[in-house]
Subunit: 628 residues, 2 copies
């Protein structure tokens, strides 16, 4: 792998990150970059996808140079091995986001049954729309309707229904492509389980067949579990609206009780956000010498509460350890996904309390206070109270909060983009047709120590907006963009003349924050809306996606559902597929005929921008639009 | 690992296997043993569970000697890494057997809807019992009842029901243990998906929490998906009854059209079995110079058709390649699981046609004719017809069918064991109480080239029956025992005096064949029946299980549901856990308090027998029975 960090030793483009990394070093604390360096050289067999431990006849390895074994003990060759390993990554990613969606459904059901004090229906209009979409009687009162919707959506996880309702939002042409390829997903958990079955020894031993099922599994996430997560989060906590907030480690405040919300789910974090406004708790914080309570977010739990509540964002994946190293954090409350198991040890080096709240996710060194829909409100209050009490234990001499907050506007759900356009998609479509906006690109995904922190996201996005391409983002990428200032309306100045004019006319930044990584469903939804408005399939639109710094299995799954939805997707980090020419070729070329989209891999974000611009112009040309 | 094959070069205890291995060598054909040798040395990190490629920040490795890295890039330590890897094995195993169960349900539904010509209800009494168990109206006619039962059972795979009906067959004390530990399974696919979620980077980072969910996931298989597979197979094709048949590669016949049924599902194989009796096809075979059509089974598809139709058994896992090397096989028809991807190449070295029939499982070099409930009967006929036509292409000079068939009696479902006892469990319970039979042990599981083929199974079982322990078996173990002659009623002579007398009185062998590996549910069901009859929990019974030669993820899952059901389980091959002292200790000791059972690992089958006898006598003592 082309490894930028190891090549030049720089870890991040951000001075606040570098300052805290320096503090960590002085304090003798290990962070992810030391662990990454210690793992070098990483196993070449695993990196190429050429090792298999699916059964205990193995572990097996295939020699990529052709001198050693070319088959595993069972007889699996490189193509089978690589495809099985990739397929299991996709299954795990789909499982993760979809299981998150299940948690939202369980809470919606509890709300409908009156068993979730503190929770309620915040977006009744969305509840009504979803109920209609899922065939729930329209004349039910809110709570019974919520209950019936939850039960109807639970069928998406089962095996009796056989299709996913949200997929019917897509143009008929897309569904026909899926049916021809056999990837119209049938059930969320079903596709995950079948993927795991097919990758068992001696089941599916055909790389194409395995990858086709991986695409179906990914679609069951993107148009199933993940989309349920997004939509029901909106019903329970409100559909995001443009909100001014801030980003950077400096959103932590020296004179207030700092509580960090980290992970991916809004369930606990929304309850914490409510409790943090409790006058009693605020008074208690003041009694202890703080000026108040300061909630900040990290990673995608941060995105959830930023999008809906405007809670400031401390940082993305690679910042999670450094946030504790500020020494200014009274409590970190985590739910699940992308939470480093090193955090407990780090918290113990300071006064910080580290709370785990998901029954599915325990961590070393954590206090475990498991969430249920029934206890959520009380749990939120308890967590804030414990953070407040902990303020007294903070050691000011160990505190360093470098840098300054950067302002950002967040909260661009599909619904508010439509509203911002005046209730019709025509202004956007006309701007695209006229060439003012060349196209739109979702820049999404994680951080990865193999890439200089946020360099991939910001370099790619800067070049895209300079070239009049509208960028929508989610997840860690969205945090990178915000830190770079791309989410201030005045960032319109950074855009090319066409995009700049549109942004200024609408008062929006050129990079629109659409949410957490589970909310990549908002992006594919937007693509479907635009395709339907134009009467074309998604792959005909001048769209693309990119994940310049991805690391997680969820990102692999998202990339698969993006491509299967017809969106060309450029990865900045190579997935473990190079051990198989067949798998690599299928991903980079073979899917075009069937899905109208492919993957590309380009570690250099500037070159990735070139690939994307070429793609966008090609799509414009095919639509008969002016093209460069 | 202690590797018997590599130590002394012997591969199998069976002369017919050695003869065909010799033929393969002379013909220049590679088999699993060459591939296994070529893989030496196998990766020590992978063998210890100390490598992780769950995300692309990795791959990571932990140095078991303590000199190199002790944490992966994310911060995961050895315990987390080992537990996550093991948990994913269990998830894949549960997914495999449960997805097999889903196929049976889909066919039952199609039968109920009149859409599966050739299929029907064979065991109406079992359909009635299951319908009552699942709350289906008792007065429905057979087909509507089948449909309603299929739909009711599909709920076990979903998330609305929240428990598995079959678990209610267990004593209340067992369910209470599960609830205390949080492992009462909620839904089949749900548990698999949650396991995959929990093992994503940054979710569950506690070895105990991960392994507890692995047990729940395994239970969702054993008392969910797998049990559905067994029960619905019985409904559709008949509950097994004692049947005389034969075993060995010599069940292939030089003068007949040989068709091998291989894999795990009865769906296609039952249709093939029916078609093979078609007088037209038999006449055509005779026209082509054969004396008839000879169906034989391999692995667990073989066990399915042996148990119900008495079709002779050619061999188990390590014999699958050698069966083709006889040169006497006109067609091999496979469905899924444990099918070596080398078979297509091997078939091409002879005249053999290699057919794949599951839409989920394609193989290199195969002709793919996918099964559906609608086309099953026609497919069965087509497959037999193609095998018959291929007889003309056989090259007699390349045929070698060594050895001679060994007779066996098979087909011991729980129902027929009860019947054999005179409709009451008292004779068996009394024999156990009196000490004539000391206890009962399930000897199950696969083959693995790390163990001399069938040495583990036969050595263990011989010693157990000599010591008056009744053995029940499934899967590859059952084939090993049959080849050793343990399934002839006259094998009672091999048993100790107490067991011998019981076997002779009942006219049964001392080793009772209970089916395919999915049918390990018959064994835990039998354990539950005995526990309920005695009014105790399962862990109080003088029972044990062993998998002396296991290789597959399914076997890991079966072992987990056996232990979680209260049955002490001895593995002959080490799972990849030794990299974590915490995980190893939990499996070997820590579960005793919560579940009344543990794992043990003992590569020497004679020593495994000693462990088991000690365990059985200990349980007898605790029950107040005479003990040695």
């Amino acid at each position: 792998m082309d490894n930028q960090f190891l090549k030049n030793g720089s870890i991040s483009i951000h001075p606040d990150v570098l300052a805290l990394k320096d503090k960590a070093q002085k304090e003798g604390l290990e962070t992810i970059w030391e662990r990454f360096a210690a793992q070098q050289p990483q196993c070449g067999f695993c990196e190429l996808g050429l090792s298999c431990r699916i059964c205990v006849m193995g572990p097996c390895r295939i020699d990529p140079f052709g001198d050693g074994p070319q088959r595993g003990v069972c007889g699996a060759d490189a193509d089978i091995m690589v495809a099985r390993n990739l397929a299991r990554m996709v299954a795990a990613g789909a499982a993760s986001h979809s299981d998150h969606g299940r948690d939202l459904l369980e809470t919606l059901l509890a709300v409908g049954e009156g068993k979730a004090p503190g929770f309620g229906i915040t977006d009744q209009a969305k509840l009504d729309r979803l109920a209609a979409e899922f065939g729930v009687a329209g004349d039910l009162p809110p709570l019974p309707k919520a209950k019936e919707l939850a039960l109807a959506m639970m069928e998406e996880y089962g095996i009796k229904k056989g299709y996913l309702t949200f997929t019917r939002r897509l143009p008929a042409a897309r569904l026909e492509k899926w049916r021809n390829l056999g990837i119209d997903p049938r059930g969320v958990d079903w596709e995950v389980t079948e993927m795991m079955h097919r990758t068992h020894m001696g089941v599916d031993n055909d790389a194409v067949s395995l990858l086709v099922q991986a695409l179906r599994c990914a679609l069951a996430d993107g148009w199933g579990g993940s989309m349920i997560a997004t939509e029901i989060s909106d019903v329970l906590f409100g559909t995001p609206k443009p909100t001014a907030s801030q980003v950077n480690l400096a959103v932590l405040q020296g004179d207030r009780v700092n509580l960090i919300l980290h992970g991916h789910s809004p369930l606990v974090s929304e309850m914490v956000a409510r409790a943090a406004q409790d006058p009693e708790l605020v008074a208690r914080a003041q009694e202890l010498g703080a000026t108040g309570i300061n909630l900040v977010g990290l990673c995608c739990t941060g995105n959830e509460v930023l999008m809906r509540q405007g809670i400031p964002m401390a940082g993305n994946h690679l910042v999670q350890e450094l946030a504790l190293i500020t020494g200014a954090v009274e409590a970190m409350v985590v739910d699940y996904q992308c939470i480093m198991p090193s955090l407990g040890d780090l918290a113990a080096c300071y006064h910080t309390k580290f709370f785990t709240t998901s029954p599915k996710a325990k961590f070393p060194g954590a206090t475990h206070l498991p969430f249920t829909p029934e206890n959520g409100a009380a749990l939120g209050r308890d967590l804030v109270a414990q953070a407040v009490e902990n303020f007294a234990r903070r050691r000011p001499e160990r505190v360093l909060i470098p840098g300054a907050p950067v302002s950002q506007v967040s909260g661009f759900s599909v619904e508010v983009i439509e509203q911002a356009l005046g209730g019709t998609w025509d202004p956007l479509l006309n701007a695209i047709k006229a060439g003012q906006i060349r196209g739109a690109v979702g820049v999404v995904g994680c951080n990865n120590p193999k890439v200089i922190h946020d360099y991939g996201h910001t370099t790619l996005t800067r070049k895209l907006i300079e070239n009049d391409i509208l960028v929508v983002d989610t997840g860690c990428a969205a945090v990178a963009h915000a830190k770079a200032g791309f989410k201030r309306p005045e960032a319109a100045e950074l855009a090319g003349p066409g995009l700049k004019a549109v942004c200024q006319a609408l008062g929006i930044p050129p990079v629109l924050h659409m949410g957490s990584c589970v909310d990549n469903t908002r992006i594919v939804n937007l693509a479907a809306v635009l395709a339907n408005a134009l009467g074309v399939d998604l792959d005909q639109l001048p769209l693309a996606a990119a994940a310049p710094e991805w690391y997680s299995e969820k990102a692999a799954t998202i990339a698969c559902y993006a491509v299967a939805s017809g969106i060309y997707t450029v990865l900045g980090v190579m997935p473990p597929v190079l051990g198989s020419a067949a798998v690599t070729d299928l991903l980079l070329n073979g899917l075009e005929t069937h899905l109208g989209a492919t993957f590309a891999v380009e570690p250099d974000p500037a070159k990735a921008a070139d690939l994307i611009m070429k793609h966008v112009e090609g799509k414009r040309r095919a639509l008969g639009l002016e093209a460069r």
